[in-house]
């Protein structure tokens, strides 16, 4: 084997083992638990629906604004805050931390709901 072909062989070996590692990693992640899911909360007539949503840590929640004016999704203590969601638009949040989060619309404080992360 020439020096150059040895080098090519080593590079190929290194690439193959890295790929194997990557593949086994994704394999492990896929079997570690249920896949994160996406939940939907509809904002309509100044109401969050559902009023109480329970999700698993890692899940994503999408708030969709069906009203003709903006709303916000703002947790007490601001652990999450959408800022203004325009009419017809949505806002996505991935819940990482377990707990019960009361939230409200800052523009219409009578609008309240709860997100429970398990």
């Amino acid at each position: 084997m020439t020096r150059a072909s040895v080098r090519r062989f080593l590079i190929a070996l290194a690439t193959a083992s890295t790929l194997c590692l990557l593949l086994s990693d994704t394999g492990a992640a896929a079997t570690a638990g249920p896949r994160p899911t996406t939940h939907r909360v509809v904002i309509d007539s100044l109401r969050f629906d559902p009023q109480l949503l329970t999700v698993k840590a890692g899940d994503t929640i999408v708030w969709v604004n069906h009203d003709p004016f903006p709303h916000t999704v703002t947790a007490e203590g601001k652990s999450f805050d959408s800022h203004e969601i325009a009419p017809g638009q949505s806002w996505k949040y991935t819940a990482r931390k377990a707990g019960e989060f009361a939230y409200a619309c800052m523009l219409h404080p009578t609008m309240k709901a709860t997100l429970r992360v398990e």
Binding site: S45, D67, P68, T110, M111
Partner: protein, 174 residues
């Protein structure tokens, strides 16, 4: 100020009673909805530029944004339904009441302005809710028009609560 509230109340009640007897048609209801929103947008614009109180300016901005949104939906719907809003005694009295309110507010400043604007907003939202519940929602023939009124009603309730919340601290200031 109180007198203005009474004027709005009386004109709305009178026209409400008249409309209930005959029943406004959908084209008239459309004109009432658009005028009611526009009147409040105009008052909000004046307050947003003239008031120096944070809470009053924020409330005024909310009125402009929300009522503009409601009117956009209303105009989109009537355009889709090919209904042309038709002027009627209720929409006319809303308009003249709105103009009178603006004339009164333009003569005021400072705490007196804030109080007059917010007092009027409380009276106005109470009267519009009354008209929605007794005339507009029960009277709307087209189901989409009725649905739109039902959908936006909670906004008027939230605005009334908001106005009342900022009204109390202003009461002793002028």
């Amino acid at each position: 100020m109180r007198m203005i509230g009474v004027v709005i109340a009386t004109s709305l009640c009178l026209t409400t009673a008249a409309a209930a007897a005959e029943g406004p048609n959908d084209a008239q209801i459309a004109a009432i909805v658009v005028t009611a929103n526009q009147v409040d947008i105009d008052a909000g614009r004046l307050a947003a530029s003239r008031s120096h109180t944070k809470e009053v300016k924020e409330f005024a901005k909310r009125m402009i944004v929300d009522h503009t949104g409601v009117n956009k939906s209303a105009v989109e719907l009537v355009t889709k339904l090919k209904v042309t809003p038709q002027d009627n005694p209720t929409s006319q009295s809303l308009k003249s009441g709105g103009d009178q309110n603006l004339r009164n507010l333009k003569g005021l400043g400072g705490a007196a302005f804030d109080k007059a604007y917010v007092d009027h907003e409380v009276a106005y939202h109470e009267q519009v809710l009354d008209a929605m519940d007794n005339v507009l929602i029960p009277g709307a023939k087209n189901q989409e028009l009725k649905a739109l009124l039902v959908k936006v009603r909670p906004a008027f309730v939230a605005h009334l609560e908001h106005a009342k919340r900022i009204q109390a601290p202003l009461a002793g200031k002028s």
